[in-house]
């Protein structure tokens, strides 16, 4: 893991002091709310429906146990005893007092955590493959590059007032994208070129929100040493030419759509050629300095399973289910990548109590080389667990409500906070997720891999566009309706879901999803996942099942 040096720590402490003074000036009336807003947003503080919400950055989703314990402390001391992990792998606290925020940030700074740029129109938290350093299919660990990007993008003097927010994701496993790279403002795949050199494929202009777009390739191969200068060239083009007249047309994807990818490429390459890219060049030594922080743990290879493990698996069906769904192959034989589900049946996705956080920290120390990861699907990963420890680990998870065996299944739902918390939302998300989860739990093994994603408004924080089944809450004359999309994906086969038809009422959502799943189950060929079947047979059978029994006009069933 990256450990701060004296520069990083000094910076963070200066930043906390700066923010403390900003809050003092706000409370003293020297700053208007309008002037204070961008300052608090630069420190991740939102004003929500009921209270301030603080969004703590978890850079590329990597946490050390003492950092997780600090999140637990913040949850207990300053909030109501829990936090919420988001699709940007951040941690949100929903019941925060403005005057306490400088103390919270000071507490976080003692364990090298902060809330810098988790909001505002600048760089947001850079995300990465949660299996980084543990997966067998990656070319190189993406985290050193994420950390390099994190530092460069921190209080960047030129790019702190961009037209709109800016999100970067990095993955080193293009064939199995676990970082949703193609729906980011800039997506970076670590790739190898024909000469065997490692560098980046650079994608630009992906994103969700009101105008969902799959990112396009801007450059097939960028040598590592030019990572920062090339990013700076893209951002300079965007900062000058991105639209600022309309909040909803301001993301870089709109600029790319307007110019077309060819002209965008021309503009970026021209800027890159004209700039002094030596100033930002990354030497091999500098990259190695960062890589050393992420040196792989010393894991002795072992057998994938021995007779004792097989016997336990055979003797306990629940444990066997958990191993099947929540563990994945580690690059070192005899080890596993373990996902702890934050999707207990019938509960809000992504919520985590202080007690659970403390337990995860302890378990990471005991079983996972002191490493914790967060996923954009709102779960927690212990990346380096010995397979022979799985049984003991599982026994600790079950009583804490962290042992749900549903990773990738239909109850592993992503949902935004929705109208229960968010001032932008037009409908609730959490109750829909809870109802679906409770209802579908009994059949999830039969249904298999199926990703449901729910957003409470068209800003799409719940990533509904890339759900196999996407659900978008909309307001119709003061009543919550839900629009359903099918066939989306955030992975290597990234695709945007297509709207199946008129929205359904809140009361009908569960029934509607049931009907769609019935079509899949009755039509699927052997081995087909939901999206495979949908892509083969098209929308018509789903549409027929969903709307055959329903009147064509929405208001009819709003009654």
């Amino acid at each position: 893991m990256y450990r701060y040096d004296a520069y990083d720590q000094r910076f963070l402490e200066e930043r906390v002091a700066q923010y403390r003074d900003q809050v003092r000036r706000r409370l003293a009336g020297q700053l208007s709310e309008e002037e204070f807003k961008p300052l608090r947003l630069m420190n991740g503080l939102y004003l929500q429906l009921h209270a301030y919400m603080l969004r703590v950055a978890i850079p590329y989703g990597t946490l050390a146990p003492e950092q997780m314990r600090m999140l637990a402390h913040v949850a207990r001391r300053y909030d109501r005893g829990w936090g919420h992990f988001t699709t940007r792998t951040n941690c949100q606290f929903n019941w925060i007092k403005l005057e306490e925020t400088p103390d919270i940030l000071a507490d976080l700074a003692t364990v090298q955590l902060h809330a810098i740029q988790t909001s505002g129109n600048s760089f947001r938290n850079t995300t990465a493959d949660p299996w980084a350093g543990a997966a067998a299919d990656e070319i190189e660990d993406p985290r050193p590059y994420c950390e390099i990007i994190r530092q460069w993008s921190t209080l960047h003097p030129e790019f702190s007032f961009l037209p709109r927010k800016f999100k970067i994701a990095v993955s080193a496993a293009k064939a199995a994208d676990r970082a949703a790279v193609k729906v980011h403002d800039i997506g970076l795949y670590i790739v190898r070129n024909e000469a065997g050199e490692v560098g980046f494929e650079v994608l630009v202009g992906g994103g969700l929100g009101r105008t969902p777009v799959i990112g396009a390739t801007l450059r097939d191969f960028l040598p590592k040493r030019h990572l920062l200068s090339y990013l700076e060239a893209i951002l300079r083009v965007y900062n000058q030419h991105g639209r600022r007249d309309n909040l909803y047309k301001s993301r870089i994807k709109i600029l790319v759509q307007h110019l077309g990818i060819a002209r965008m490429r021309e503009a970026v390459e021209a800027e890159w050629a004209a700039m002094d890219n030596a100033a930002l060049a990354l030497s091999d030594e500098t990259i190695a300095d960062f890589a050393r922080h992420f040196a792989p743990p010393d894991l002795p290879p072992a057998a994938e399973a021995d007779a004792a493990f097989e016997a336990v698996l055979a003797g306990n069906k629940q444990f066997a289910r958990w191993v099947e769904h929540n563990t994945a192959r580690h690059k070192v034989p005899g080890h596993a990548i373990v996902t702890l589900s934050l999707k207990p049946y019938g509960r809000p996705p992504g919520d985590c109590t202080a007690e659970q956080m403390d337990l995860v920290a302890d378990l990471a120390d005991e079983y996972s080389q002191g490493e914790i990861r967060l996923t954009h699907e709102q779960n927690i990963v212990l990346p380096h667990v010995r397979r022979s420890d799985l049984w003991a680990l599982w026994h600790r998870l079950e009583p804490a409500g962290l042992g749900t065996s549903n990773i990738g299944l239909v109850t592993d739902i992503i949902a935004c906070p929705g109208l229960d918390y968010c001032s932008l939302a037009t409908a609730r998300s959490i109750p829909i997720a809870e109802r679906l989860s409770r209802h579908l739990a009994a059949r999830e093994d039969e249904i298999g891999e199926l990703k449901i994603k729910i957003s409470g408004c068209i800003n799409a924080c719940g990533h509904h566009h890339v759900g196999h089944i996407g659900i978008l809450g909309v307001d119709k004359n003061g009543e919550e309706f839900y629009q359903i999309t099918l066939g989306g994906s955030a992975d290597q086969d990234a695709a945007l879901g297509a709207i199946i038809g008129p929205a359904v009422s809140s009361a009908e959502v569960t029934n509607a999803i049931d009907q769609l799943i019935e079509v899949y189950l009755s039509q699927r060929a052997a081995g087909e996942r939901f999206n495979d079947t949908y892509r083969r047979i098209g929308a018509a059978p789903f549409k027929a099942a969903l709307y055959a029994a329903r009147p064509a006009r929405e208001p009819a069933y709003a009654a």
Partner: protein, 163 residues
């Protein structure tokens, strides 16, 4: 009022409207439109000249002419509109502009350090800047993670220099 060279001072420049007459020897700034229209006459004058460059004109289009200006004024129509940061960096870093570079418009305390890092050396501020001691804003953070136009050391290079 102007914040410049570590102090608050009065603005000695006159910012000429497009229809206002030019007086001999007076230091004035002109709009970009007027510059394009009256370039020859403006070059011929025997007085320092300043340019007010709009946010949608790239400084690169000025070419070598930038060296004719003693002052370039860039605008922040709202403090959230960050185009002038890139314009400033292009003027300083790309084009080698050495005259004064001034931030005008919605200039607020907590953006001053960003502005200076991008190459601004003068800031049009309101009366409150004195009472609230905006000068202190330049010293709040002294660890930087990017090279910029202030030529201050940045962390990635500082680390290797120590190693």
């Amino acid at each position: 009022m102007l914040l410049e060279a570590g102090e608050f001072r009065a603005d000695r420049w006159r910012h000429l409207g497009d229809d206002e007459a030019l007086a001999d020897g007076e230091t004035v700034t002109v709009s970009h439109a007027r510059w394009l229209r009256e370039r020859a006459a403006l070059i011929g004058r025997n007085a320092a000249l300043g340019l007010r460059l709009p946010n949608d004109v790239s400084p690169v289009t000025l070419g070598e002419d930038i060296h004719r200006f003693a002052l370039i004024v860039l605008n922040f129509p709202r403090f959230t509109d960050g185009r002038a940061y890139s314009q400033a960096r292009l003027l300083r870093g790309r084009l080698g502009y050495r005259g004064s570079l001034r931030a005008a418009g919605n200039v607020l305390r907590d953006q001053l350090l960003f502005m200076r890092r991008c190459g601004f050396d003068a800031f049009e501020v309101g009366e409150r800047a004195v009472a609230e001691n905006w000068l202190a804003a330049f010293d709040e953070v002294d660890v930087f993670f990017q090279p910029a136009e202030d030529q201050l050391p940045w962390v990635l290079r500082q680390r290797r220099a120590v190693a």
